[in-house]
Every structure is written in C-alpha cells, then in structure tokens.
C-alpha cells in the first residue's frame, strides 16, 4: 500500500478500522477531535457504527455494552475525559472485557491546558479507577508506530480479555507523518465464547459482570485476572534501547519526549558525550528488563518527561539503587527543547566529576 501523510488522530481511526473495529463511542475534547470525526465519517462506510455519547462516562459504558456483545470497540478522549472514563475502565477490567481506549493527553490537573503533556502516566499505569487491576499501555512515538500499535492493541485486548490503552499526547494526535498500513503479524485469538451473541445458544446463559459479592469468590476472580497479568508481563513487554553501550548517561523517555532525546543524543555526540536512550513502548508492563545490563561507563539514568516526574518512579524501581536517577521535566504543555536535555546531561556529568 502507498505511503500516506496522515494526522495522528486520523491514523488511529484508520488503523482501528483496518483492525476490524466496528464500533466507536466518542465525545468531543481537544486535542483528539479528529479521531471521532474520522470515525463518524469512515466507520459507516466500513459496516460499523459511530455514536456520539452524552459524556465520556456514557461513551465508556456504551463500550462496556458493545464489548460484552463481542464487538471490536474503541473510544477516545484526552486527559480530563479519560479521568471521567475511569469508573467504566475499572468495570471493564472487572468484567474482563476487551476494548481499546485512546488518550491523546494534555496537561492537568483539572481542566489544565490543551497542549501536549505526560501527566497521565500514573493514571494509565496504576489502574486509574477503583480496585486491583492494570491495563496494558502502549506509548507510540511516531504516527507509523501509532498505526502499528493500534492494530496490535486490539489483538492484545482480545487475547487477554482486557482494555488496552494507547497513550499519545496532543503532539502525536495533531502531527502528520507518512504512514504505511502494513499487514501486522496476526495472532491466534481465542473464541469469544463468553460474549453475548446475536443468536442465542440454548442453555448457555451469558453474564457480563464485575460483581462478586462473596469475598471467597472475589479473591479467586482477582487471582485469575492477575494470573493473566503475569503472562502479559512475560509476553508483551516492548521497548527500544538505543546508544546505551558505553553511554555516559542513559535517558529514559517515552512517546514524543523520546524524539527530543534523540536530537539531544546527536548534539551531545558533537561534544564527545554519549547519551543512551531506553524508550519504553509498553508503559505497563514497564520494561524493567531493559535496565538489567548497565555499561560500567554509565554514571546515571535520566528520566525525561513532560510532567513533574511520574515515570521516574518506575525508573527508580528498575534501577534498584545502582545509579543516581536524575530527572528533567517540562510540565503544563511545554515541550522541552533538545538543548535543555543537553544542558541537563552536561550538568549531571559535571556534577559527577
């Protein structure tokens, strides 16, 4: 297929349709509006249904209904709207329903701003709603990767019967890059024998439920779900490691910020400083294994984020006390410049000498 120049938000929609998504329940919020707009235009042409809900809460509960009926279904929003969806995400996890949720995040707390930010890391990787659960979280760094991961996300959702989050930001949503819709490796997906069907099978009452009123039933339910999480942690971790061999400092950055770090790597090369990059592609499960091997030359890890520092907690866990863990962040919708990262790295090395 020929390459196309596509906006991130629209590319998500195109990838979802290619992955067989038939239902999309949306609600407007900047900076993700091109996605529901695209779906309202394109889904009906592909035998699907787009419906604008009365709220993000309404939308996520429509997802609950459609996912329970076995459909491939998606919803999207941006930070404050994703906060509203948390109740529904918790129920989806409790009822083990597959779906894909897109967050083109902006700054917060509260109404915050509409420029790109990464302050939803905790919300995405720590459950976000009530109770014991996690959701797989993919953080693409380019439009091509967004397209590939959206298709993958639907398969992962169906494989493990879990909601999957695509965590972009305003920049991923708004920018255009060239994309190619490649046929991704198809997984062997389990039958959805738990779902409600268009035609009822006699004597097999289906129930979509997160209520286990007896503790002695709720505990094994949670143990079963966490058994799946163990498999996800083993099978689905994704990351990219770049320039780490012999690096003076290893930066850890995801999504948009990882690209800024790449520019900083080039600039630092001119000064004879080697900056490495660990780029988590799955934020949950976090790629702890990427931190196993550290070059003896490496003096510190540097977590670079568009937040006040959230992923740094996972970097510290991964580092396990071996090296200093530094932080550079620009929150509130400010995108850091490569030179700022360069200066921070030099500061770290200066301090170490």
């Amino acid at each position: 297929m020929e390459k196309m120049l596509m906006k991130g938000n629209e590319a998500v929609g195109a990838a979802a349709i290619k992955a067989g998504c038939k239902y999309f329940f949306g609600y407007p919020i900047t900076p993700q509006n091109e996605l529901p707009e695209y779906m309202s235009r394109e889904l009906p042409k592909n035998g699907g249904t787009y419906l604008q809900a009365e709220s993000e809460i309404g939308a996520i509960n429509m997802v609950f209904g459609a996912a329970g009926a076995g459909a491939r279904v998606m919803t999207s929003s941006s930070s404050p709207g994703i906060a509203l969806k948390q109740e529904g995400i918790s129920y989806l996890c409790g009822a083990e329903l597959p779906c894909v949720i897109v967050n083109m995040s902006r700054s917060g707390p509260g109404l915050g701003g509409i420029q790109p930010a990464q302050g939803d890391y905790f919300q995405a990787t720590r459950g976000g709603g009530n109770g014991d659960y996690y959701t797989p979280v993919y953080a693409p760094a380019s439009i091509q990767e967004t397209v590939d991961l959206v298709q993958e996300a639907f398969d992962v959702a169906d494989t493990y019967r879990t909601p999957v989050i695509i965590l972009g930001d305003g920049m991923i949503g708004q920018m255009m890059e060239s994309v190619e819709f490649k046929d991704i490796q198809k997984r062997r997906l389990p039958q959805k024998d738990w779902a409600l069907k268009e035609h009822v099978e006699k004597g097999s009452k289906k129930l979509i439920n997160s209520l286990y009123i007896k503790p002695e039933e709720m505990e094994p339910h949670l143990q079963k779900i966490f058994g799946k999480y163990d498999v996800i942690k083993k099978e689905e971790v994704r990351y990219e490691k770049f320039n780490c061999e012999g690096a003076d400092v290893v930066a850890v950055a995801y999504g948009t910020v990882s690209r800024i770090v790449r520019n900083a790597i080039k600039k630092l090369e001119e000064d004879g400083i080697k900056l490495g990059l660990i780029r988590p592609i799955t934020l949950w499960p976090f790629p702890f294994e990427a931190f196993d091997e550290i070059s003896p030359e490496t003096k510190a890890f540097l977590s670079v984020e568009m937040s006040m520092g959230q992923m740094i907690d996972d970097v510290k866990i991964a580092n396990a006390g071996r090296l200093p863990v530094e932080f550079y962040g620009r929150p509130g919708g400010i995108v850091p410049k490569p030179i700022e990262v360069v200066d921070k790295v030099k500061e770290i090395l200066g301090g170490a000498k």
């Binding site: 239902y23 329940f25 249904t49 419906l51 809900a53 009365e54 709220s55 809460i57 309404g58 939308a59 509960n61 429509m62 997802v63 609950f64 209904g65 459609a66 996912a67 329970g68 009926a69 076995g70 459909a71 279904v73 109740e87 529904g88 129920y91 009822a95 409600l196 069907k197 268009e198 009822v200 006699k202 009452k205 289906k206 129930l207 979509i208 439920n209 997160s210 209520l211």
Partner: protein, 247 residues
C-alpha cells in the same frame, strides 16, 4: 388435576433477596411473564443496575449485564447497537435512573434508542438504607431527610415519565402501579406494550412502576400499599404519557 398457577419459565428457580412485602417480586414476575408470552424471553438481554435490583441478572432466565450505578441505559445502548435483533431492557430503581443516571437515561431517550427501561420508583434508596431519593416526596422522611424532605432545602421530586415524554425519541412512556390486582394487570399490559414497541423498532420505551419499600418506609406491607396509593399516586399520576400512533 389442571395447573392454575405456576412459576414463570422466564425466571430462574431461586429465592429472591428482596425484603418481605416488597413489590419488586411482582414486577420481576410481570416482566418475565410478558417476555415469555411475547416469545421474547430467550432473546432478551437484561441490564441490571445498582441498588436493590443489583441481582436481577440472577433472576431473569436470559443473558445479562451488570452495569455500574446509573449507566444501565448507556450499557443497553452499546449492547443493542451490536445485538440489533435482541430485546434489550434495563431494570433500574429511582436512585439509579433519576439521580446518578439522569444523563444516560435522558440521552438514550433523546436518541430514540430502541431499548426498554423498566423503572421501579419507590421514592427511596432501599439497598443503602432508606436515604432520600430524587423521587422522595416533599415531607417524606428518609435517613438523609430526617425531618421530611424540605422543598426549600432539597427541592422537588422528579416526574420521569412526564419529563421523558417531551422528547421526540421517546416512543412509549407509561406510569403504572402494583398496589392492587387491578393495577398489577394494567402494569403487565404496559410492560408488554413497551416490549412490543421495541420489537417494532419504534424507539425508546419506558414503564415507570410505583413500588413499595416497607422496610425503609417503616410500614407493614399492607400499610405500604395504602401509603403508595394515598401519597405517591397523587404526585405521580398513573397513565400513559406517550404511545406510538397506530398505522
């Protein structure tokens, strides 16, 4: 010997958890009988809510969802949009539908979602212990309106059928009661009609059923029926508010 009365096949053979004297049981039976008589029971999808009706998914002998508090109409929307030929209904109380779930309910009606809402109004939060509901009458005592609901402080109860019948998407809206046999028969007729409206793909249908809560009203079952008749019906008049025109 001929059978004159038997368990409806639309309900699972198990004890209900409702308090003695509660009219939820009657309403369950009416819904199940209606679906069975219309030949819709096997195809039905029940969306349970949160409140006393939280376990309805156990009682109706059909596929079911358990929705979060207030969101039954949204879950029903998602389900019905996929399962277009199945009979999707929610079973919700007044707190679930008329307080926390107002937005979902109003917009499902406005969209003309082809689902049926069974709305049980007993003017109180039952499951949580008798707190004031959006339908608690002015002057009625509740654990969060210990001196009786004050219009000045807590405003006025919501008449859901009247409100929803103003929306173009609402095809059928009727308020019934189950406080005596004649009204039980009328209630069943309305419930059947609502399901027929859905089968005919005519749009959103709701049946509001006035119901008792002996436990939280602090009355015995017969006094509860009398209280319903004397206090609720004057504020919540029975009758049909909207029905599709016959072709």
């Amino acid at each position: 010997m001929s059978i004159v009365f038997e368990r409806t096949r639309g309900m699972v053979d198990m004890p209900l958890h409702y308090c003695p004297g509660c009219t939820h049981g009657i309403i369950h039976r009416l819904v199940a009988e209606s679906l069975v008589e219309l030949g819709l029971m096997d195809d039905a999808v029940c969306v349970s809510s949160v409140g006393c009706s939280v376990f309805t998914y156990n009682y109706f002998d059909c596929d079911a969802y358990q929705a979060s508090h207030g969101r039954a109409a949204a879950v029903a929307t998602g389900s019905k949009r996929v399962l277009k030929d199945r009979t999707v209904f929610t079973y919700q109380g007044d707190g679930d539908l008329a307080a926390i779930g107002t937005a979902e309910t109003v917009h499902a009606a406005a969209r003309g979602e082809n689902v049926t809402i069974i709305y049980v109004n007993n003017a109180i939060y039952g499951m949580t212990g008798g707190q004031m509901a959006p339908t608690t009458l002015v002057g009625q005592k509740a654990t969060t309106s210990p001196n009786g609901r004050s219009a000045e402080l807590q405003g006025y109860p919501i008449r859901v059928c009247e409100m929803l019948s103003t929306l173009d998407g609402t095809a059928f809206a009727e308020r019934v009661s189950v406080h005596n046999p004649a009204n039980v028969r009328k209630a069943k007729k309305a419930i059947k009609k609502a399901f027929e409206v859905q089968t005919a793909k005519q749009g959103f249908s709701i049946v509001e059923i006035l119901s008792t809560c002996s436990t939280n009203w602090g009355l015995n079952p017969t006094d509860s029926l009398k209280w319903l008749e004397d206090n609720m019906i004057p504020y919540y008049p029975l009758g049909n508010f909207k029905t599709p025109e016959e072709n």
